[in-house]
Every structure is written in C-alpha cells, then in structure tokens.
Symmetry: C2
Subunit: 248 residues, 2 copies
C-alpha cells in the first residue's frame, strides 16, 4: 500500500544486479572505481560499498584490495534446487511447459508428524493439496502440499486457485504470505503402487522423494510438501559455496 521506504543501498544493489543481468556489465570486466561509481549513481561511497558487499556475498562481483571490483564470471545455474522454488520453476527452467493433472484438495486433521513440522496442535485442521504435475504434458511429479487451514480461514475459495497455479504465487498474491526460506531433504526411493498408478509408471520405478518445509520471514512454518519426482525427468543441481567458510 504505502511506498515501502527501503534503504537506498538496496536500490543501488538492484540497479547493479540489473546491469549485470542485462549484460551491460559482462563477466570479468572491472567496475568503475568506488568514488566514480558512487557519484554516477548519486550516492555516497559508504552506501555504494554496502551494496557492493551484498553483491559480493551473492557471488556476483569480486573485490580485490588495491586492484578493483570485477564482475564475477560466476556460475548461473538453470535448475538450481537452492533457488528455484517449487515444481513450476523447475519445469520451466528445464525449458518445458508446466501443467497440472488430477488436482484435488481436502481438509483433514493434522497427523502427529505434520503437526510437529508446522508447529500446530495435533488434530488442528490442515489443507492438503494433491497434484500431478506435467512437463510438456507428461506426468513427472506427484506433489502433496500441506498447510494450516487457518491461513485461509477468511478466504476458503483460495484453495481452488491453488489447484492450477503455483502455490507460492497464490500464497503471496492472495494471502500476503511471503516464503522466506525452506529446508528440503531428499533421497532416492522406489515407486509404491499408489504413486506409480498416479504417475502412470510401473511399480518400483526410480523416484527422487523431496520432503520440504517452507518458512515465512518470522520463521513461522507455512507449508510442508512431499514430492515424488521421476528420476529421468530432470536433473537437480546445487551450487555449493565454500568449503570452509563456516565449518568449525
């Protein structure tokens, strides 16, 4: 509603990432010196340095004492598990068309495990959204998203829209809930009879099971997801930073 008064250093950061993403600043090139860039952007050197520091943390630039600041010829990973949230993003990142089949939802009391993950009292209602996701029309993922029913207490009709659109989009745009981070655990599994039937594959087929809990900015658990991915559908990638940085 009101124009979020955000620090100027954030605007500077966005401006610079924009220049890099648009190819205006190509990998390896040296940025103008800090005093020069600061005057060009109309901020003080201190503010510019704040922005540069974050960019360095994100791995977009490298600063070398006495030499200059350079655009990192960094990795730009397509389907990165740690940035591409949600199945929709993953499918699109692979260059395919994301779709949905056999979508349905229902309300039920939370099981003990679900209640613990979402920090609810056992027995409180949760909404379960079950979908088979398709890439170019072919079933690739079975997902079950579980969220506290109280989130849509005043907007029960929102559940319908979750069947077709990305859950994160709906949460943010219709309910004002912004996901801040999530913790995903995964392991290989074999398809049991239920999953196999829904994905239209033989029993025992190779799957990657991903179990994930997403949190809002204030560390409130919002969604607990279970996903079963076809092994051949797409590869997952993770950008690993470090090592060493903060181990011990």
């Amino acid at each position: 509603m009101k124009t979020r008064a955000r620090p100027r250093s954030v605007s500077v950061r966005d401006e610079l990432t924009d220049r890099i993403d648009r190819g205006l600043l190509t990998a390896g090139t040296r940025l103008p010196s800090e005093p020069a860039l600061a005057t060009e952007l109309g901020v003080s050197r201190a503010t510019l340095r704040e922005a540069l520091r974050t960019l360095e943390g994100e791995g977009l630039v490298r600063r070398m004492w006495g030499s200059g600041t350079y655009v990192a010829q960094g990795p730009r990973v397509a389907n990165s598990l740690d940035v591409n949230f949600g199945v929709t993003d993953a499918i699109r990142a692979a260059g395919m068309q994301a779709g949905t089949e056999q979508a349905r939802y229902w309300f039920e009391p939370a099981s003990a495990g679900e209640a613990a993950q979402l920090k609810l009292q056992p027995g409180q209602d949760v909404l379960v959204v079950e979908r088979v996701r398709t890439a170019d029309g072919k079933p690739v993922v079975l997902s079950r998203d579980i969220l506290p029913a109280r989130l849509l207490a005043h907007h029960p009709e929102v559940a319908d829209r979750m069947l077709q659109r990305s859950m994160y989009e709906v949460l943010e745009q219709e309910l004002g809930v912004v996901i801040h981070h999530g913790i995903a655990t995964f392991r290989p599994v074999r398809a049991d009879i239920t999953v196999a039937r829904m994905l239209g594959i033989p029993r025992g087929e190779l799957l990657l099971a991903i179990w994930q809990v997403d949190y809002a900015e204030d560390d409130v658990a919002v969604v607990s997801s279970h996903e079963y991915h076809l092994a051949e559908a797409f590869d997952f990638t993770v950008l690993r930073r470090g090592p060493g940085r903060r181990l011990q």
Copy 2:
C-alpha cells in the same frame, strides 16, 4: 608463511560468527548497538558494518532500521549439501566415523567429457582417485575424483596422501589450491554390477549419483567428482533461499 594480511572486517565477521556458533549470542537476542559493538571490538563503526552486512547476507543476523540488529533464529542444517563439501564432512555431520577402503589412484589421458569439464585438451593426463568411503566401518559411498595431473607435476607424492585424507584438505594444505565453489548435479540410479561389487550390495540397489565440478577462486576447474551414495546411508538437505530474490 607470511602473515596473511586479511581485512579487519573479516576478522570481525569471524569473531561474531564464533560467538553465535558457541551460543554466546543466542537466537533472537539483540546485539549491542553499532557504536557500542564497534568500540568493544576495537574497530570503527564502518568496519563493523561491513562485517554485519556479510553476516546478514549469510542469514546469521537480521538488521532492522531504527530498532537494532538481531541474531536470526535461522536454520542450522547438519548435512547441508550446499555447505558440507565432500563425503568426509557429510559422514561426520551425521555423527559417524569416516573411513576409507579400497583406495587407489592412477594416471590416464582425459576422456573427451572430462577434458571439457576441466577445460583441458583431450588426451592430457588426469589423476583419478577412486575410494570406497565408510561410515562406522560400513561402505556407503563410492567416489572417483578426477583432477588435472599438472596440479601435482612437482609434487607427485601428494597423490598418496589423497587416498586417506579429505581431498579438499590435501589440495589446500599441500598444493595451496583453495576450492571456492562447486556445482553438483544428482539423480537416483540403480547400482550396476561394478558399483554393487565395490560397495558390497546387490545389483540394482538404490543409489544417489552425484556428479560435481569444483572451481578455484579464479573459476579454474580443479576437480571433477563422481559419487555413488547408498540411498539409506544418510539424507541430504538443502537450504533454499528465496524464492524471488533474483529470479528474472
């Protein structure tokens, strides 16, 4: 050798992360104000702010304009794929004892694929280190690490030490090569006869295959690894930031 002249802000950052990790600063508590902390640590406020900015980028603290800086009640993930490099770390993070069996190495000309990953001319020599890693004595991972032979042109005896110790340790301490980041891709596979025999499991058993390329700070490819993890051995976890931050 020489007293690494590292910026003071880095020392301050390490000091603060240390206090947080040791539980001296618990989650949710507010840090002293910037002027106070700066004098306590013996640096200027500007330097302290540099350190705080990186800590914020790493998600360890949250800064709120006009209110204060708070220790994030963030996730502290044990076996996180994006920070725990290497099998040794992963095994130790699971609270088990890391060991090695059937370790051997040899030199051979790089295949076309390996040459492309490591940016070598096809046919240039690479060192291949093959190991079966054990957790509490039980085989859990088969790993093959491939690196350019020129890295140890002047220290051929270093290869021996790679058989027992962590490859990252040896690279850093004996060859001065620091790994800056890596890109890991993974997918579920079934054990073929070769892998099954080495891990002592039946053919067709569930494995997680991880293929990874590690880079030095200047984006030179250093190691290409292939790993086969027993599915039941340990779960992998990824901390996902976002979504939204920098998509598009």
